[in-house]
């Protein structure tokens, strides 16, 4: 009996301490949030200690910029056999670094931690195939876009699907769970039967075994797939809402954002992103998709 009372007291104590701790956590989070808002209002004062980001001048005077990139997303951001960062995003990053006249430290980021790195100022810029969405734009500031993304549909040469209307009632379409393709087709085409797979490899096998009429995914993925696998064609290279990929900086870092935007505009005059495409993406996607994928000078047509 005595023991069970003791255990109960312990349990209550534990719960109380945990609750208190979580309240304390929330409270302090709110504090910092409101502080950073306040500092945004009086933004010109860059020396304020509670600002997470570094301004353009601070980066310049420190002589080093930290850029978050992917290190395993060939051909956008990856590391080659000599340990050097390469890819479409990195090519652009290197140019920014050169024009800024500083050294660069690339930080390897994961899709799930990109926003967090910016919110805490652990990197100055994220150039990691970052698709602009409203939800993300609440937490970070996106600069002008430098690439397009949309959905695409790939199908076997024996029956190329050029429009979703061509699908017959019993035709199924492969999607990977959790992708924009799944969300889009479920919302806009509820009548199309979907075959859902968890991994890229399973979806690929299903298409190759003829289990479905077509496969819908990000267009960069399906284009690369069709180029690597004979007998498949991307019948629909662009489907659904067109999204863009853009650099992102910490919320409120206006000086750096303005500089990147002016840089993107200026680079448009020398057709920089076309050169970037030819150096990094042409090997995977060929020349045919250059105009579809590249955004030059921050202007989406």
């Amino acid at each position: 009996m005595k023991k069970s009372v003791f255990v109960k007291v312990l349990a209550i104590l534990t719960a109380a301490v945990l609750l208190l701790a979580s309240f304390a956590g929330c409270a302090s989070n709110e504090n910092t949030a409101s502080e950073s808002k306040a500092s945004d209002a009086s933004q010109t004062d860059s020396s304020a200690s509670n600002v997470v980001y570094r301004t353009l001048d601070e980066i310049k005077s420190s002589g080093k910029i930290k850029i978050g990139v992917f290190s395993d997303k060939n051909p956008f951001g990856y590391v080659d056999e000599n340990g050097e960062y390469q890819g479409y995003d990195v090519y652009f990053a290197n140019r920014l670094v050169k024009d800024l006249g500083v050294e660069v430290e690339f930080v390897s980021t994961e899709a799930a931690s990109r926003v967090e790195f910016l919110e805490t100022g652990k990197v100055d810029v994220v150039l990691a195939n970052f698709t602009v969405t409203d939800e993300r734009a609440e937490k970070v500031d996106f600069a002008l876009p430098y690439m397009n993304v949309a959905l695409g549909v790939v199908s076997p040469d024996s029956r190329v699907i050029k429009s979703l209307d061509e699908l017959k009632a019993d035709d199924e379409v492969i999607v990977i769970t959790g992708t924009t393709a799944e969300t889009y087709l479920t919302e806009k085409y509820p009548n199309i039967k979907l075959q859902k797979y968890d991994t890229y490899a399973n979806a690929k096998t299903a298409l190759e075994n003829g289990q479905a009429a077509a496969w819908a995914n990000d267009n960069t993925e399906v284009i690369a797939y069709a180029l690597q696998n004979k007998g498949y064609t991307v019948g629909i290279p662009e489907l659904g809402s067109k999204d863009t990929i853009a650099p992102a900086v910490s919320k409120g870092n206006k000086t750096l954002l303005d500089w990147i935007n002016s840089e993107i505009e200026a680079l448009g005059k020398e057709n920089f992103f076309h050169a970037d495409y030819e150096a990094t993406l042409a090997g995977t996607y060929g020349k045919d998709y250059e105009e579809k994928l590249v955004v030059e000078g921050g202007k989406v047509e």
Binding site: F6, V52, D72, T120, G121, K122, Q228
Partner: protein, 225 residues
């Protein structure tokens, strides 16, 4: 070689990069292990104290470590401390802190189990010989407890080494991340590299963890006499 994509290993400095990644993983985990053993033994002894307040505090700490996934702890320490306190920890330091926080709790629990598992007559004999409490602990109880501790703590150490694969989430490029980078960089030219690389990583982790198992076996044999 071709079928397993092992040729990719010897392209450029790939193999060296894998070893550097392993070195980084081992650096983080072994520093954390060393700290955890020292702090864990202290924590374990504190846990055997019969004061209810001390017990409650220890219990809360242990439960937090058990409930929280290491990934969440990593995010909390790496990003959270910047948000709340404005500290700018580097990713390696944050990893060592999280792994030590985790290792100390688990090690402490093992020590507590081992110390309370020492038969009562050992305490009584020690006191009967006129030892003080400190003497009894230092010369009798702890040496006995450590023997009990070896197998489980080796298990903890190898688990800590393997869990370093999580630190890639906060930007540390360790052995598994390097292997993923190599696989992706060669996605077109050698799609089979995935087998060869993961096999290599398996062997590297094995080489890193095997000595601890050997050491454990040796100590057990030595002390059983």
């Amino acid at each position: 070689m071709q079928a397993l994509g092992l040729d990719v290993l010897f392209k450029g400095s790939n193999f060296l990069r894998l070893l550097e990644g392993l070195w980084k993983a081992l650096g983080i985990s072994l520093i954390a292990v060393a700290l955890s053993i020292v702090l864990g033994i202290l924590f374990g002894i504190v846990m055997t104290v019969r004061n209810p307040v001390v017990k409650a505090v220890c219990r809360v700490y242990l439960e937090i470590v058990r409930i929280m996934p290491q990934m969440v702890l990593l995010f909390l320490v790496f990003f959270g401390t910047t948000r709340v306190f404005g500290w700018n920890l580097n990713a390696e330091a944050a990893s060592v802190i999280v792994f030590t926080f985790w290792g100390t709790a688990e090690m402490g629990d093992l020590v507590r189990g081992a110390v309370t598992g020492v038969p009562k007559h050992q305490y009584e004999s020690a006191f009967a010989l006129g030892m003080t409490k400190a003497q009894a602990y230092l010369t009798v109880i702890i040496p006995l407890a450590i023997r009990q501790l070896i197998p489980q703590s080796m298990n903890l150490i190898t688990r800590m080494i393997k869990t370093t694969s999580l630190v890639m989430m906060i930007g540390v490029v360790e052995v598994l991340k390097v292997s993923q980078q190599i696989i992706e960089a060669n996605r077109m030219s050698s799609p089979n590299a995935v087998f060869g690389l993961y096999l290599t990583v398996f062997i590297l982790y094995f080489v890193a963890c095997w000595p601890f198992s050997l050491l454990a076996k040796r100590l057990e044999r030595k002390w059983s006499n």
